[in-house]
Symmetry: C2
């Protein structure tokens, strides 16, 4: 496929630790419920899955935040649970309760029945990627994404969100063989899924390990990071002659930065508990860093938003050599006032240009 050439490559350059004129930024879940226009499209689509499975709607909401804000990247509007949905687990988004699976994976028989899904089941995602690439017209790069094998397994086993991860950890501590089989299948599915996104036009990809941080030291490395590493190793890192950078984000992974940096990724996402200066010293600049403002800072005064944004930029250090992509440390809250995002974007760009 051939697409218009990229006008703003600051995000890609910074991920590859190449010189940049300012600190690029985008926000996790930037297309979402804090935007009234998103809620309108979602209402037209009828449901979350109706939105995610329709490439036109997915494209529309992906582009919405870029109309409002001078962001340096777009991210595909989708969900990390499309993959287990394609495996036949029956994903539903229950109002006020989040995602739920009709057929969670808990027994040996459930695990034996599990298969890497046929990619044709996920064609709506790849169609959305290509459509968004076309509509972006080279304005900014498009990020594709998937959940990490462990994070996706959490939902597959728990059947929904959890606050103690009792079912998946119960499986880990009583039938680790079953969990390893799920993780292996998720890994193969994720490699195929992300490579198809890259082929469809994604210019960078991100692996969300949203729940790896709930594991004990030692078990994180064994049950989460080992599989994320396999995913990264399985990716086609170039398309159309361009390097496709890979970002790995483990929420709550601050104690394991050295391990994660060795996963083969180009950049590592970090949450707000991590000090970026210390993180750089620990990983000796082997990979770029993405993050890490607390999303709740956007509920502060204008002054506080600007101060906190500068603190993140200053913690990282000099801007010119790249290696930092500004972001939140987790998805933006649905209650965020959109004006707060405008202030943040302005401060990150203007302050980092001044301190270039």
């Amino acid at each position: 496929m051939s697409f218009p050439s990229l006008k703003n490559d600051v995000f890609i350059r910074s991920l590859l630790r190449q010189p940049v004129p300012y600190t690029p930024l985008w926000l996790m879940r930037q297309a979402g419920r804090y935007l009234p226009e998103y809620n309108q499209t979602r209402a037209r689509a009828g449901s979350f899955m109706g939105l995610a499975q329709n490439p036109e709607y997915a494209c529309e909401v992906t582009l919405q935040p870029l109309e409002r804000f001078d962001l340096d990247a777009a991210i595909l509007f989708s969900d990390i649970l499309t993959v287990p949905h394609a495996m036949g687990l029956g994903l539903d988004f229950v109002a006020g309760e989040g995602p739920q699976f009709a057929r969670p994976v808990r027994t040996e028989a459930d695990v034996s029945a599990l298969r890497v899904p046929d990619l044709s089941e996920l064609r709506y995602v790849f169609d959305a990627v290509s459509l968004i690439r076309k509509e972006l017209d080279g304005k900014v790069p498009l990020i594709g994404f998937a959940g990490s094998p462990f994070t996706v397994a959490c939902y597959m086993v728990e059947g929904q969100g959890s606050d103690d991860y009792r079912l998946i950890k119960g499986m880990l501590y009583s039938r680790p063989d079953l969990l390893h089989r799920i993780l292996e299948i998720n890994t193969q599915a994720t490699i195929a899924y992300l490579n198809a996104q890259i082929q469809a036009g994604a210019q960078a990809v991100m692996v969300f390990d949203s729940w790896g941080g709930v594991l004990a030291d030692g078990l994180f490395q064994q049950f989460s990071l080992a599989y994320t590493r396999k995913v990264v190793e399985g990716l086609v890192r170039e398309n159309d002659g361009q390097r496709v950078p890979v970002i790995v984000f483990t929420k709550g992974g601050g104690l394991w930065l050295e391990d994660i940096a060795d996963s083969g990724c180009d950049a590592m996402g970090v949450d707000w508990t991590v000090n970026l200066a210390k993180a750089r010293r620990r990983i000796e600049d082997r990979v770029a860093l993405q993050g890490n403002l607390d999303p709740m800072a956007l509920f502060g005064t204008e002054d506080a938003i600007r101060t906190e944004a500068r603190r993140v930029i200053d913690d990282f250090g000099p801007v010119g050599l790249g290696g930092h992509v500004f972001n939140l440390g987790h998805g933006i809250s649905r209650f965020t006032p959109p004006e707060a995002v405008g202030i943040l974007v302005d401060e990150v760009h203007s302050y980092s240009r001044r301190n270039h």
Copy 2:
């Protein structure tokens, strides 16, 4: 007050990094809903607060786990929210929803009205401490406790548990002066509360900073740890000629171990994301460590429970010099099979004796 002398001081000795014959253990929330006998007493008491506010009932449930298991310490049965309840915020435990305050603290007027409570409002706690000390008859030491000023403030501002801490963080980022005033009042109240527990007979005290770990780097130090340190500095560390050790536990505080070790505490609680060997190297054995098995490991097979327990003990290193108190990295789950606790206690004691 004069109490029977202590027969088993292994817990106290290990906290003070003195030689011990084995690794002592107790479990956070060891008196609780996973025990049928607890549920029976609670049913008789009518409600959680009915249980906590009645010294006889509180004593009864405190001693229950010691009847079943060979634990090395008892911990007062109570709740970290007794202090704001005494401030007049109206604590209620709603079935299935956890603690709620009728009158949360959110506005400048709310903060201005806040006062350090009269200790007579908390007399039921100190009476329970003295009664438990008497009934323990020197079997094992009794731990008193309180929430950290920040953790207690989370509940006071949110009015209940939260998964994003939007209200307290909104206050932090928009009216930090108000939050500092709450924290100062909580600090003074906590010092008085813990000193009264010590005077009533508590032989060690623990400060639970359950939610400090949700703060950004830099803000944790400023809004949580600085106040915990003031609490530690304000404590009377000796009673009846015995040193009263202080344990500070910050869930999710693994990135800040060096800072927490400098709080003046004798020991630091750590959750399961922390590797104990690395933790010891980082803090250079300035304080003892308490932890850190994932409570969910108790849902594993007998073999897994024993393996994971040994892993924690081995990570800490040689047993003989003390400095380690075995515990979970968070409170025990209400769904835990009591037999699993029996296996854990057996393994910790027998394995650490063998590896002495």
